[in-house]
């Protein structure tokens, strides 16, 4: 997926919105910037399918050799799928963060807001500021 077409949360998650039979599905992952900042990843704890999450709620953990970091849900909804292949192939998070490195698919709660999400350019700016 082209990152320029994605939405981003300030906490470094990306979101891709699609519609499927009137349901709005958000595919969520973490940005290339975040993966690089985390350094060597050793473990991911995926959320449970069926779990209801609020916006900004921690729903996944990634562990690197340095720290454990929360992954926050950028949307409110229900987890309908998780990327089961990730725990055994953590390198996918860095080799293809916006594609095969997706973490979860979340079916949005009706009327759940997407307004706070950043577009790619604004997110890039935030990353540049953080990098300094």
């Amino acid at each position: 997926m082209n990152p320029a077409e994605l939405k981003f949360a300030k906490t470094h998650e990306w979101v891709s919105i699609s519609e499927n039979q009137e349901k709005i599905i958000a595919t969520v992952g973490i940005s290339a910037f975040a993966v690089e900042a985390l350094t060597d990843l050793v473990f991911i704890e995926l959320p449970e399918v069926g779990r209801e999450v609020d916006m900004d709620e921690s729903f996944c953990e990634v562990e690197s050799v340095k720290a454990v970091s929360d992954v926050y849900s950028p949307v409110a909804g229900t987890v309908i799928a998780v990327n089961e292949t990730l725990p055994d192939a953590l390198e996918t998070l860095s080799s293809d963060p916006y594609g095969d490195g997706w973490i979860a698919k979340i079916e949005l709660t009706d009327g759940a807001p997407l307004d706070d999400l950043l577009d790619f350019d604004s997110y890039q700016k935030q990353c540049e500021e953080e990098a300094h």
Binding site: F43, E48, E61, E63, V65, K66, A67, V68
Partner: protein
């Protein structure tokens, strides 16, 4: 380290340094009602000589297993310890090194822990062992926490009444503030019955904890418990007796080879550490590989250094302290290094054949003891089930307290009354017979118990 006196001058200097005029001023923020308004109620200080005499007087009141003939069990047993275990365990390189904070400098310590772990995985039939925990009870509770975290089932944990009552209390303490219920399955037959277990296990059950042999010494139908537990998607925590594994199936193989307990824990003092009035002890913990990231404590791994020589490193050890921090699911960051060393020496000396012989002696001698005690009409086995080294005797006269006292006077620690934990079994006591007990000692116990019987009969008539 330099010793600092706490003189009035030192106190004054410290107060000045922080800008307080007096201790009272320093403690002013503490509300008056919380301050102790009188001196601590302690007797006057003793001189070193007086203190030495006083402590000796107190110590004489203790009676250790070496002074009496010991049939006590219930998690703490009088097993034989070869002198070589003391010799190795007393070497100052091991004895004084405590826990390696700069771990990789202490290659010898790490190698011992690695060998301990290797022995434990072979003993249990599971993939991974940690470097040990504090004791059997806390290891069991830590295993329950692992199961809750792994299954993400916060509904309940299921324990049969046949699990050590103090282990059940420890579990209850550990999960008290997690909102997880501890459901206890009644076991009137002395065994966990498959149907009773099925009625308690559901899709909110994180784990079932099964002790084999159980607290009453009886052998549970571990295979059916494994299946019922796994069918419900729960994990099985197996509590085992290391010595029993000379004869019984390994926890990892309870149902079939490679199929059994997911986490196995044990009180490991029986491998080379004396009873010591009940501790400190050794907590053994092993698990399947998929649970390794949930495992508390530290794990030592073998690797090669830059010259290609074998060396040892701490693996995953830093996770709870340095990486998971507030997300940690356990606060255990250490191990019982000295007792793990003793267990390693002990098992290395025994080998598989020695462990089998020891277990067989326990079995044969305990069977002989049970038969001899039950020769007398006053006594019967509380449960007809097969046992290993412990069994429960029912006193038809329901006077266990007096039996224990009379036996003690005759030089025998005859057993553990069940009354404190099982009020409905106040007429029962638990007897443990290890390989150390001789035929003469067992016969002496029987005489002491029957002597008590005769004494009671006389006093009644």
């Amino acid at each position: 380290m330099t010793f600092f006196y706490n003189t009035p001058e030192n106190q004054q200097a410290m107060l000045e340094a922080i800008g307080a005029r007096s201790l009272d001023e320093l403690f002013e923020p503490i509300p008056e009602e919380l301050k102790l308004q009188h001196p601590l109620q302690l007797p006057p200080a003793l001189s070193e000589l007086e203190l030495d005499q006083h402590l000796r007087e107190l110590a004489v009141g203790n009676q250790h297993a070496g002074q009496k003939i010991c049939f006590l069990g219930g998690g703490c047993y009088d097993h034989f310890i070869p002198a070589a275990v003391d010799t190795i365990g007393s070497r100052s390189e091991f004895y004084t090194s405590y826990t390696p904070y700069q771990a990789e400098v202490s290659q010898g310590n790490l190698q011992v822990i690695f060998e301990y772990q290797s022995l434990m995985t072979r003993l249990t039939g599971l993939d991974i062992s940690n470097a040990s925990l504090y004791d059997g009870g806390s290891a069991t509770a830590e295993a329950v926490l692992m199961a809750i975290a792994d299954t993400r089932r916060y509904g309940k944990v299921v324990v049969p009444e046949t699990l050590h009552p103090e282990y059940r209390q420890t579990i209850a303490t550990y999960v008290e503030n997690l909102g997880v219920a501890v459901e206890t399955v009644a076991t009137p037959s002395g065994l966990l019955q498959p149907d009773d277990l099925s009625a308690h296990v559901d899709d909110q059950t994180a784990c079932v904890v099964l002790q084999q042999p159980n607290f009453f010494g009886c052998l549970e139908d571990a295979s059916s418990v494994v299946q019922t537990t796994h069918q419900a998607g729960a994990l099985l925590v197996g509590v085992f007796d290391p010595i029993s594994l000379g004869l019984l199936a390994r926890p990892g193989d309870w149902s079939a080879p490679g199929e059994g307990a997911d986490i196995a824990v044990a009180e490991g003092h029986t491998l080379g550490t004396p009873m010591s009035y009940g501790g400190p002890f050794l907590g053994i913990m092993c698990c399947r590989e998929n649970l390794v990231r949930r495992m508390p404590g530290r794990i030592v791994g073998q690797t090669v250094d830059r010259r290609g020589k074998p060396c040892y490193v701490l693996t995953l050890q830093t996770r709870e302290q340095h990486i998971r921090r507030e997300k940690a699911t356990s606060n255990v960051c250490t191990n019982q290094g000295l007792f793990a060393l003793r267990a390693t020496a002990h098992l290395s000396l025994f080998g598989p054949q020695g462990l089998r012989e020891t277990a067989n002696l326990c079995l044969q001698k305990s069977r002989y003891a049970a038969d001899q005690i039950c020769q007398h009409q006053r006594f019967e086995l509380a449960f007809p089930e097969p046992t290993f080294k412990e069994f429960v005797i029912r006193d038809r006269k329901a006077n266990v307290g007096e039996l224990m006292e009379t036996s003690l006077a005759a030089g025998y620690l005859a057993g553990i009354p069940l009354a404190p934990w099982y009020p409905e079994r106040a007429d029962c006591f638990l007897v443990a017979v290890t390989e150390k007990r001789t035929k003469a000692e067992i016969d002496g116990l029987v005489d002491a118990l029957i002597g008590a019987t005769n004494a009671v009969t006389t006093s009644i008539s």
